[in-house]
Every structure is written in structure tokens, then in C-alpha cells.
């Protein structure tokens, strides 16, 4: 299997874990989604489901960094401009709130213990990225961090409500209001 074929497989795997959760995902579902037999999956992911979940989480975090964090690092742009691009990245990454966040999905049950460290680290990374941007925009450190924490809380919460209400409107509004509100001085 070529590297790009594997990347495609991982994309399908991510979609399954997002929808069914770690425990709700079976090798049969993964086999169907990837088009590979169960045994073929073990060839690529020796530890089976655990390895696939790890690969899914890693790929998701890389993708998140590219789509959401990279804009925040464009030092030639103003913080507001960066936040605007970042917000667009968020909409794309979460498909306007229709996709669940693996950090939330994997934080429950057996997966929560398996991936405890990367889940905690990636949550902190999100907070730090936004906090640093706020500081660059001249917001005092303590307030910057406070705001970053609230933003990450809002993103996770909006994704939960998108799922229960079957509506993208709250997530879309959050993203729309994000750039203006995050950097406002009060």
C-alpha cells in the first residue's frame, strides 16, 4: 500500500472513530470504511484498533495544526487578520460543526486512559496558541490566557450542541463572532 493510499485509509478511519467513538468502532466498520480486510488492517496497524485510533488522533492533530494553527503563526499579518484565517480553518476542519472533535470523543472510557497524555497536551496546545496570539495583540497575559481558555471551551461546547441539536447555527455563529470578540478590549 502506497503512502497516499494509507493516508486515505487513515482519513476513512478518522471518520468512523468520530461518528461511533472508540468503543463503538469495530474492526468490521473500519474494514468496510477502508475497503481493506480485517487482516490487512492488522498488517498496517499491528496492534489493531488501538494503533488505528492512535494514527487517527495523530493525523487529526497534524491536520488541525495545518488548518487552524498555521494561520496564527503568520507574523507578518495582524493578530486580527490571522484570527480571521484561523476561524475559516476551524469551519473547514469541523465542517461547520458537523464533525465531532476526536479530543472529546476519545476522552471517554478506555480511550480516555490510552490517550490521556496526547489529549491533555493537545488541549493545552490549543489554549497556548490562542493565548499567545492575544498577548501579541497587547492583551495582558493573565487575561489572554483566560480568554483563550474560554475560547477552547466554547469550541468544544459548540461542537457538543451541534451534535445534540443537529444544527450548525451555533457553531457557525461562534466562528463568525470569534475574530471580533476574542481581541476586543473591554
Amino acid at each position: 500500500m502506497s503512502i497516499t493510499t494509507k493516508e486515505k485509509a487513515v482519513k476513512q478511519i478518522i471518520a468512523v472513530f468520530r461518528e461511533y467513538g472508540y468503543e463503538g468502532t469495530s474492526l468490521s466498520l473500519l474494514s468496510k470504511a477502508t475497503g481493506l480486510g480485517r487482516s490487512s488492517l492488522y498488517h498496517h496497524f499491528p496492534k489493531g484498533k488501538e494503533d488505528m485510533a492512535a494514527a487517527a488522533l495523530e493525523a487529526v492533530l497534524v491536520s488541525f495544526d495545518t488548518m487552524v494553527f498555521t494561520p496564527l503563526r503568520q507574523k507578518k499579518q495582524t493578530p486580527f487578520q490571522r484570527l480571521n484565517t484561523c476561524a475559516k480553518g476551524l469551519s473547514l476542519f469541523y465542517a461547520n460543526g458537523e464533525r465531532s472533535c476526536l479530543i472529546n470523543i476519545f476522552s471517554v472510557g478506555a480511550a480516555g486512559k490510552l490517550f490521556q497524555v496526547p489529549l491533555e497536551e493537545s488541549t493545552l496546545a490549543m489554549i497556548n496558541m490562542f493565548s499567545n496570539l492575544a498577548k501579541e495583540a497587547g492583551i495582558p497575559g493573565k487575561i489572554a490566557r483566560h480568554r483563550a481558555e474560554e475560547l477552547v471551551i466554547s469550541i468544544q461546547g459548540a461542537l457538543v450542541l451541534s451534535r445534540t441539536l443537529h444544527s450548525k447555527s451555533l457553531f457557525n455563529r461562534l466562528v463568525k463572532e470569534l475574530p471580533g470578540r476574542f481581541l476586543e478590549v473591554d
Copy 2:
């Protein structure tokens, strides 16, 4: 089994579902937690796991109504006073953020489809309760609803972060700041 004994069993069942999710919860776990054999569980919950999850969700929603909504209905108190008691109820109900919200936990995979209607209804009920309180406090309808939506988003998000960061601090801060911020005029 007496009614209070069954209530105790349901409490244990709730704890298991909260920790392991719907799919991650097995009859063995439920048997161990309740102290009842698998077959005894079927005597009380004929449809097995699905019935137990339904009972857990129903009990949780009743308990939430008692601890969180009831304070909001005390018309003799000011909205601020009610919100203060409500906030204390939230802390108790979620054990300072250490307990997950079943609405989030059950919104994934098979349970998400099984309980789609009650999950959506209870999320809307939360929004409506807070929205009505804001209106009573003189906040215009549209803004009131907007704020209520953001509050429910914050609660769900803070619970997610409490789980991934293994820290109660963000949830506790949210609850602490809640009464003052929810009704503030800007």
C-alpha cells in the same frame, strides 16, 4: 427489589455510563456496579442495556431539573439570587466538573440515534430555562436567548476540558463567574 433499592441501582448505572460511555459499558460492568447478576438486571430492565441507559438518562434529567432548574423557578427571589442557587446546583450536579454530562456522552454512536429526541429536547430545555430567566431580568428576548445558548455551550465545553485536563479549575471558575456575568448589562 424495593423502589429505593432500584433507585440506588440506577445511581450506580449512571456512574458507569458516565465513565465508560454507552458502547464502552458492558452488562458485566453494570452487574459489578449494581451488585446484581446479569439476569437480575434483565428482570428489572427487560430490554437490557438500552433500558438501563434510558433509565439512567431519565433519572439524570429529573435530578438536573431538581438541582439546577428548580432554583430558577423561585419567582419570589431576584433573578440574581436564583442564578446563585442554580450555580451551586450545577457544581453539585457535576461534582465540580468531575462528572461528565450524559447528554454529551450519549450523543455519540448508537446511543446518539437511540436517544436523539430526549437529548435534543433536554438541550433545548436548558437553553429555554436560562433564556427565560434572562428575559425576566429585563434582557431583550433575542439577547437573552443568545446568552443562554452561550452559557449551555460553556457548561458543556468546560466539562469536556475538565475531562481532558483532569482539572476542576475551569469548571469551577465558570460556575463562580456565572451569576455575575450572565445577567450583566453591557
